[in-house]
């Protein structure tokens, strides 16, 4: 099976992100294994749990959540790019566990090493 990794650098309100979502979904439906999406630069903003897009506009966040749920698509956000943009996790004082306070559950905080790993495994890497 052909494998694909995608790097997304555009924010949730951009139509370029819509293109990325379309592309990924077409790939999955074509039987290509999308092994992960890595969000870098402004792409990490897609993961904010505080996103609120007007109802009559394209709901990129709902699409990411759907892709994650329906196809088990891993959505990695670069932790450093996230922290620079106010997205982070915290250690819960009571439980000692990490909580992704303002990051949508569909996304995982990852290091850049994750991108290296995806790149080493995927047949193709596409930056969108």
């Amino acid at each position: 099976m052909q494998t694909l990794a995608v790097m997304v650098t555009t924010p949730p309100h951009s139509n370029l992100t819509t293109t990325a979502i379309d592309y990924i979904e077409c790939a999955i439906q074509k039987g290509i294994k999308v092994i992960g999406v890595f969000f870098y630069q402004d792409g990490v903003l897609n993961a904010s749990s505080y996103l609120s897009l007007p109802n009559d506009e394209y709901q990129s966040i709902k699409q990411w959540q759907r892709l994650n749920k329906e196809y088990d698509l891993p959505l990695h956000i670069c932790v450093t790019a996230g922290e620079k943009r106010g997205l982070t996790d915290e250690i819960d004082d009571q439980t000692g566990k990490k909580t992704q306070t303002n990051i949508n559950d569909a996304f995982i905080l990852s290091g850049l090493g994750e991108l290296v790993e995806l790149s080493s495994k995927a047949d193709r890497v596409v930056q969108l």
Binding site: C78, V79, T80, E83, S110, G111, L112, G113
Partner: protein, 110 residues
């Protein structure tokens, strides 16, 4: 977190890293280490000074692999191994040595 050194207040971040790397000196490094209940030996100092001069030259704290590669030229094979460095700094040489060298905490993803 605020350290008091010679009656002066020195700012650090949540994890105890200096906010301004220029304020660093060896006594301050000792003070930061004491707060962590960590004792600095001459072997530690060798690495701390090396990491600091790497930062001053290249404006970045070296990741472990780059650190060992750079140390090899100066200290030889034995001290330039990640095993040796982890023995000295069990929490990770990149994370811990930079702290006592007064440098910013390395980016989490590196």
């Amino acid at each position: 977190m605020i350290l008091t050194y010679l009656g002066e207040k020195i700012g650090t971040d949540k994890q105890g890293y200096l906010l301004d790397f220029k304020q660093w000196n060896e006594e301050l490094a000792d003070l930061i280490a004491q707060n962590d209940q960590f004792e600095l030996t001459s072997a530690h100092w060798e690495v701390i000074h090396f990491v600091r001069s790497f930062y001053l030259q290249y404006n970045t704290s070296p990741a472990i692999r780059a650190l060992t590669k750079a140390m090899k030229a100066e200290f030889g094979e034995e001290k330039a191994s990640s095993r040796y460095l982890y023995r000295l700094f069990p929490e990770g040489p990149a994370k811990q040595a930079t702290k006592y060298a007064g440098l910013p905490k390395p980016a989490r993803c590196i």
